[in-house]
Symmetry: C2
Subunit: 496 residues, 2 copies
């Protein structure tokens, strides 16, 4: 564009809402630092038993003045309270949780990450838990249920009315990663043979519409989904118009057994706010909202990030050293095994290395670069599998392309590494040979890295496994072991 | 829960909407395979120039029967058309794009990933581009503008009415990662001194409300934001009620210069559907919707994933080998440099290695495990920085905890590795010494990995840089070079 675009209003920005939460955290930290009650708690024995700690805190709190802390906490949204709790050490965390208005406890539990939620729940007795959880909707109770003691779920379930109990039963019966486990039951339904005027009058009888109501659901007498009526159409059309004339009949709906991740993608792709969930016969049983979809997207991204680093699950920032170490062991153990194997490959060539010690210095280069290059290939393949873009018909093209890239990179980086090795060992009798070995080994190992980087996720996917899980261990294993084998094997031939 | 929960309706699921898109892709691939027109195109010279290719396709299409393909494409949502285009080779991609109804072109361009969008835009001439883009809203044009030739933006801008041109100017003036660059201008505003009846009548004058309208904005005569009126409150209250009595005055609003990522987090945290965007003085200038927030969350997750593997940007599945290879070079070059350095560290100890060749076989274990363990630490630190949970007051605790974990892991895995080394070289005179060297080196290098894994992101963050970018190269550099140095250095002392 030729006309220059001048920025408007470039003044310093007001604190965003996220900063408000961070400020609250800092104030809470300040107020709790050197607080006399925490000193008392620190002196008591066995502070690690959460139940005991929770009880002590409950007894001690009335003896101290916490008005400043309460003032900071009271205006906070449950999600912000959860944020503050996540960032506090365990004792401080329980003090703050104890101070939060009892009516909020359930909502705060919902917002906490799993490890922190477990630590908080462990500090509460059955009565407190029932009190906190019974304020929630059936679908929310179902979300918490796996972390709650069975007697709490049972007691809460008995306190529900029959309809809600049935909803709880329904929500708990679907697998974790299905739409059914994520849906809620806050449905507003209307019939198709009434006028918008009737719908408007019906809506006025509510105190509040469910969150994320962008449409109401049109059902027949058997609760079969007939279509949806968006608030948009309800508002722009005249009151005399009939629902059946303006409702959408072919909108997107999900089956309760659909994969939640796929549903979340549909929300993103079609910019949905809410969508009906039906049982296979077509009966409307719940609805999914964009808030659920956002959570699914976030959780899947998080899980990818953690599993790539070999963390079994999310960690409480203030978990004990022991618990955290255990969370990381499987991965380290697995990697130690592959490292042992690679070490034995090198061990098999000790004769060659003792002849030309320079090989020991150069071999990690061959293994490392192929690992990096293979990881690039693997990341792109896993990503395109996740997007559904790779199918039988273009997999072959993808393989040819990636092998082409690996060959190109092998030529470029192999030559550079070969020249480097030659230059480095120029004053020895085997400088040129070393350089050539290096180049050849780099090229072969880069090709191998690309092959493994493609094959592992494609094969895992073919067998119905998550292509991201475990791929990187297998890749490192191959590029290390085979890298050493190729390089030292070639050297054994050339330096015979 | 004691009462067993029986699953309901566990029948095979109907195809979700995502599967519909994948089915469309397969049909398109089938219809284009061995299509006579594609054979003609394949015979022509220089098929890589996108502009030329686009022109040839435009000329050839009228000579062939594409009715089956059109039938497949016509019912697709623009996002699904984009999905199909992403998964097609470049020639097929342009054929399909040419067949998509001209009125959809702009929407499809919006949905494409950047590399594919660039390839499609390169095939279109100015006139086609203007035609495609001028159907879009000002904020959407602004999103495309960086990828469009300047003359197209200028021509489109001249065709806009003054209000839209001003909006385009506004949207283009904000930095890429700000709320201002993401907001749209589809605002419905009302005054506070009118009744809901008036609002309802006003809304009926629209043909359609903007997508994601969950609230209308209440402004004064100077367009200053006074509050918001949710459709919920509009619908549940009686028509006689005044707007000022039911509007929300303290809802969340964003400043146009706020960080888009932070705003997206607020959408997730507070389950928002839309929120007003104001200029610093308080004037309402746009709105942000959850669809924008979801895109931001997705894009940030994607960028993390790609940059962790050292891919500069997203890759077109069907980009040329050369273009893709270049996308991966910086990372490989960087890693080659660190590998060379590590190689020189080993080179400095060639004397020791020639004495005890077993060292060469064992040293990669020391480097590898510390790298893996340091990466776990780093991933958690980067994550807690991104969540804003780490501040000055708990950073120290975090450091103590991570060092504790590293020491624990060092003891456990160092001992295992040491015993392994001892057992392996039991029949040599230096077996026990090797095992001890191994154990000590593992412990020290794991501690180093934890220190670097924490320090790098914390320091990058302190200096206002993205803590995720480049951290892993620095970590590998340290655990490799220092791992070799520690292990071989200790060995030099012990085996003197």
């Amino acid at each position: 564009m030729n006309a220059p675009l001048e920025p408007i209003d470039l003044e310093p920005q007001a604190p965003s809402d996220h900063e408000a939460a961070q400020n609250a955290l800092e104030r809470v930290q300040d107020l709790l630092r050197d607080h006399p009650m925490l000193e008392v708690l620190a002196d008591r024995e066995d502070p690690r038993d959460q139940a005991q700690l929770g009880e002590s805190i409950e007894q001690l709190i009335p003896n101290y003045d916490f008005s400043a802390l309460r003032e900071t906490l009271d205006p906070l949204h449950p999600a912000d309270v959860a944020f503050v709790l996540e960032a506090l050490p365990r004792t401080e965390r329980l003090v703050v949780f104890e101070l939060v208005k009892a009516s909020l406890d359930g909502d705060v539990l919902l917002e906490l990450s799993e490890p922190v939620r477990e630590s908080v729940i462990a500090s509460m007795d059955t009565e407190e838990l029932v009190e906190a959880v019974e304020t929630l909707d059936a679908d929310e109770i179902a979300d918490l249920a796996p972390d709650l003691p069975p007697e709490v779920v049972e007691e809460v379930s008995e306190g529900l009315d029959p309809e809600e109990r049935e909803q709880l039963r329904t929500a708990m019966s679907y697998p974790d990663d299905s739409v059914g486990a994520r849906m809620d039951f806050e449905l507003i339904t209307v019939r198709e043979d009434v006028s918008l005027e009737v719908v408007l009058r019906y809506l006025r009888r509510f105190d509040k519409l469910p969150d994320h109501t962008d449409k109401v659901f049109v059902v027949d007498r058997e609760d079969n989904l007939r279509g949806t009526l968006s608030l948009d159409r309800l508002l722009v059309n005249e009151p005399e118009v009939m629902v059946e004339d303006v409702m959408a009949r072919d909108g997107i709906s999900f089956n309760a057994l659909d994969d939640a991740g796929e549903a979340a993608k549909a929300f993103q792709r079609y910019d949905l706010v809410s969508a009906p969930v039906v049982a296979p016969g077509g009966r409307l049983i719940g609805r999914l909202t964009v808030a659920d979809a956002v959570d699914v997207i976030q959780e899947e991204g998080d899980a990818d990030l953690l599993s790539q680093a070999g963390l079994r699950e999310d960690e409480d920032l203030f978990a004990s050293v022991w618990a955290s170490a255990k969370n990381r062991w499987m991965w380290l153990g697995l990697n130690l095994c592959t490292a042992f194997f690679a070490s034995r490959v090198i061990g098999a060539f000790e004769g060659t290395i003792s002849k030309v010690v320079a090989l020991a210095a150069l071999m990690p280069i061959v293994a490392g670069i192929a690992g990096n290059s293979g990881n690039q290939t693997m990341t792109l393949v896993i990503r395109s599998l996740a997007l559904g873009q790779t199918n039988a018909s273009n997999a072959r093209r993808l393989i040819v392309k990636e092998l082409g890239i690996a060959a190109t990179n092998g030529l470029v980086w192999g030559t550079i590494a070969g020249l480097f090795a030659w230059w480095l060992y120029n004053d020895t009798p085997y400088g040129l040979k070393l350089g050539f070995t290096m180049m050849l080994a780099m090229m072969l190992n880069l090709l191998l890295g690309a092959l493994v980087g493609m094959a592992v996720p494609l094969v895992l996917q073919r067998f119905g496994r998550d292509p991201a899980l475990g791929s990187s261990v297998l890749l490192t294993f191959s590029t290390d072991s085979m890298g050493f084998f190729i390089f030292l094997g070639l050297a054994t031939i050339f330096f015979r």
